[in-house]
């Protein structure tokens, strides 16, 4: 690899240039982290409001309810309920998980792990964050429009999301917010791809990259290809709303000319299915690395893990039809989409086997990041396997749009990704802030979250199989759902438990930032490049660009004397 000469900025001197308009990937990563955590809080609060409504319909939400909904005496009104689940989905996917997993860890880990001094396009990187902020302002502004924010579900299918179903300006702002966010994420994605291709330290081949970088790279590729598709769809929808076009109108509602609402579903899911993998791939990468780091053993079949992640990336682009089985799809198409979707289970089985192979005969250390990584293996096992019901067309006819779907995708997209994100946070915190997080609180956080989220999402799958459909304000107007009242309450209690566990995390995070024990350069004894420099990472990371001589997972080499791991800058010890 030819060495690529990076443009170097001087170290910033003013507060503004250092913490606000910074070109430094590490500062931008932290900005994304705060942004993501703030929205995680908002989205989580919305989830609690939703859960409260489902378990105790018609009863005022404690404490906050009186402030938020004075007109109804603290009870969540049905139109607000629709807005809540719409924005909960939108915020969690685009404003919480994307910034944390991709924005924060992508920015922080990629240059440090490949031995670069910064991203290849620092200005683009900064622009990516500030556009994300513009998008957040647009989205939050939609809440204060006369008819409230978007309320058509995070999928915003027309014709509900056109003027026929949502008259307010909130929906238009929602479209624009996501469009701007798409631009922001595409900028980030292009930057990640270019950085990984051009700025790998000399000697680092693609298979010498840590799997975290692999995950982030594949995510960036999917982002760069498919976010523009979503952007196109959203622009057309905006045209329908603002300029009176009829791309997505049909039937009695289309007064002049006629388009097709199903067209939007195609456009949306061409983006929407890869989006699932956009969110989970960084978590897979982090987990693959952490299992090896804390098992003190080389990652089992690291190359096949990387290749199966690549295979899934490719397959994820051709399976989107399984979201639309209930729309009278031709059996030719259902058969193809069903088979293609099922094929994903082969690479998934391969890296599951590799994960278990990694901890087989290791010397496992159960530090907090490892607990979270093992947690991901558990919940993604459940989440991935339950996808089989939804990929098969006949069971999907029953389960489509029920809470079973909600439970399934929360296991994959919420539980796994969130646990993966926490694993990463606990793991890289010392490098980010130069201090260690509290282990005891971290373990409490893990176990309570684990109990809480399994209670929630397993409960959701059970009530979904019992027939409860999605996005309903009060399930108990239906005779066939009467028996599910206690279970819905149980899910809500689990959600409150899970929510309260996050208070432990926030406390731990903020407290450790200032008062935690000072971290050494390499607190976890790991050999990847970011641990060869001081904690926190200095400006421009590497005083000298490192030369890579071995893989990222060299643990427990019997020929090694004195320590059980090798830095990537060291020659592989042979007998």
């Amino acid at each position: 690899m030819a060495f690529f000469e990076q443009e170097i900025h001087d170290a910033p001197s003013t507060f503004l240039s250092k913490y606000v308009f910074s070109f430094d990937h590490k500062v931008i990563a932290k900005q994304f982290l705060w942004y993501g955590i703030a929205f995680l809080g908002i989205g989580g609060m919305m989830a609690l409001l939703i859960r409260w409504t489902l378990a105790f319909p018609g009863e005022p939400f404690p404490v906050l309810g009186q402030i938020l909904f004075p007109d109804t005496n603290g009870v969540v009104p049905p139109d607000t309920y629709a807005m809540l689940f719409t924005l909960h989905g939108t915020i969690m996917i685009f404003y919480a998980i994307t910034p944390i997993l991709i924005g924060a860890f992508g920015n922080y880990c990629i240059p440090l792990m490949i031995g670069a001094r910064d991203m290849v396009f620092p200005t683009l990187n900064m622009l990516s964050f500030w556009l994300a902020l513009v998008s957040a302002i647009l989205l939050l502004a939609s809440l204060f429009t006369p008819l409230g924010g978007a309320a058509g579900g995070w999928t915003s299918y027309p014709t509900l999301s056109t003027l026929i179903g949502s008259a307010g300006v909130g929906q238009t702002l929602w479209c624009l917010a996501l469009f701007v966010l798409g631009v922001s994420s595409t900028m980030g994605a292009v930057n990640y791809i270019a950085t990984i291709i051009t700025l790998r330290a000399p000697g680092m081949g693609y298979f010498d990259m840590p799997l975290t970088v692999w995950g982030l790279w594949l995510t960036a590729v999917l982002n760069a290809i498919f976010l523009p598709v979503l952007g196109a769809g959203l622009l057309l929808l905006t045209f329908d709303r603002v300029f009176g076009t009829t791309f997505f109108l049909a039937g009695a509602a289309a007064t002049s000319g006629s388009g097709d609402p199903v067209l939007f579903q195609h456009v949306f899911w061409i983006f929407g299915h890869p989006e699932v993998y956009i969110l989970i791939l960084p978590a897979w990468g982090i987990v693959s690395d952490l299992l090896s780091f804390f098992a003190r053993k080389p990652a089992f079949g690291a190359r096949s893990t990387a290749l199966s992640m690549t295979a899934i990336t490719i397959l994820s682009t051709v399976v989107y039809g399984h979201h639309m089985y209930s729309g009278q799809m031709s059996p030719l198409l259902t058969q193809s989409f069903m088979m293609l979707t099922m094929t994903i289970s082969i690479p998934s089985a391969v890296f599951f086997a590799n994960w278990l192979g990694t901890i087989w005969k290791g010397a496992l250390r159960f530090d907090t990041p490892m607990l979270f990584a093992l947690g991901v293996v558990f919940v993604f096992g459940l989440g991935g396997l339950t996808g089989l019901y939804l990929a098969t067309v006949s069971t999907d006819l029953y389960l489509h749009d029920t809470y079973f779907v909600v439970g399934h995708f929360h296991y994959t997209m919420a539980a796994s990704v969130l646990l993966g994100g926490f694993a990463g946070t606990y793991f890289w915190f010392p490098k980010m802030f130069g201090r260690m997080m509290n282990e005891t609180l971290g373990k409490w956080h893990f176990w309570i979250s684990m109990i809480g989220l399994n209670g929630i999402f397993m409960g959701m799958m059970i009530i979904g199989h019992a027939g409860m459909h999605r996005r309903i304000y009060n399930p108990f107007v239906y005779e066939f759902l009467q028996n599910l009242i206690p279970l819905n309450m149980f899910i809500t209690y689990s959600a409150i438990l899970m929510g309260s566990a996050q208070i432990i995390f926030v406390y731990n995070f903020i407290h450790s930032m200032y008062k935690g024990p000072v971290a050494t350069q390499n607190p976890w004894n790991v050999g990847t490049l970011e641990w060869t420099i001081p904690s926190p990472a200095p400006h421009y990371n590497f005083a000298e660009i490192p030369v890579v001589k071995c893989g990222p997972h060299e643990f427990g080499n019997p020929n090694l004397k004195g320590k059980d791991f090798q830095y990537q800058t060291e020659e592989l010890v042979k007998a």
């Binding site: 039937g251 089992f300 278990l356 006949s394 006819l397 996005r471």
Partner: protein
Amino acid sequence: MTLLLDLYLKLFVSSTFAAEGAAGAEMVKVGFWEAIKPPVDISTYGHLIDSLFMLTTKLILFFFFFVCLGIFGFSYLYNKKRHPKALYTHGTSKKQIGIVAFIGALVFVMVDMQITTISNHDYVNVFLNYPKESDDIVRVEVLGQQWAWNFRYAGKDGVFNTEDDVVTLNDLRVPANKKVIFQITAKDVIHALYFPNARIKVDAMPGRISRLWFELTKPGVYDIACAEICGTFHYKMKARLTVYSQAEYDQWMAEVQERSKYITEVDRVENYWGWKWVASN
């Protein structure tokens, strides 16, 4: 603290609530396993979905058992106290690659191929196998709107969208043991006609006619819901499904046909939302 107190109150109240409900809406307190059962299956093909669900569950549990065995077993056996020296292997020997490849293939053959085959067979041969137009069937046109279901029967002349059509709101009545075929569309936004008791749903989309058929076996009254978010009162888009015996159905049909002569006003355009029946085959 208030929240905590409220929680305890809720917990306490919930037990009394169930008792009240029992008195009020004839709700019987049921056990956990009874409560989580899917609604009673009243169709001729619902068992196909239930049995495929059970099969998939068994296969999933089989594989998830091994995942758990790996996670918990290895965590126990190979923690650093019990097993301080990790094995130095990259998982690249022929044997190791073989095992991983075998697991991948096993999942594909044992799970994927099996359930895909069954599901595809059911979908093509049962769910899409619409009854013939020449058969003795009941035809219903359905129009979803915010937030109600309109049902239209052809009436005495057997032709849709004429003055003697029988039109009902949120009230579908069909005979048991007879094939019923629906043609469904929506007026404003996308809805989905969802029969939990028949394990089936289909989208109702503006500008398209979707089809669905079923044959019900158990007379009784059941719920119909809308499964696709369609606005604020999506949850109230509920209709009633009454399954009659053939005699009851004939009697009811005769009554409403008689009544429809007087109800339908010729001049009111909105009564004519129906369409000419599209022959399935």
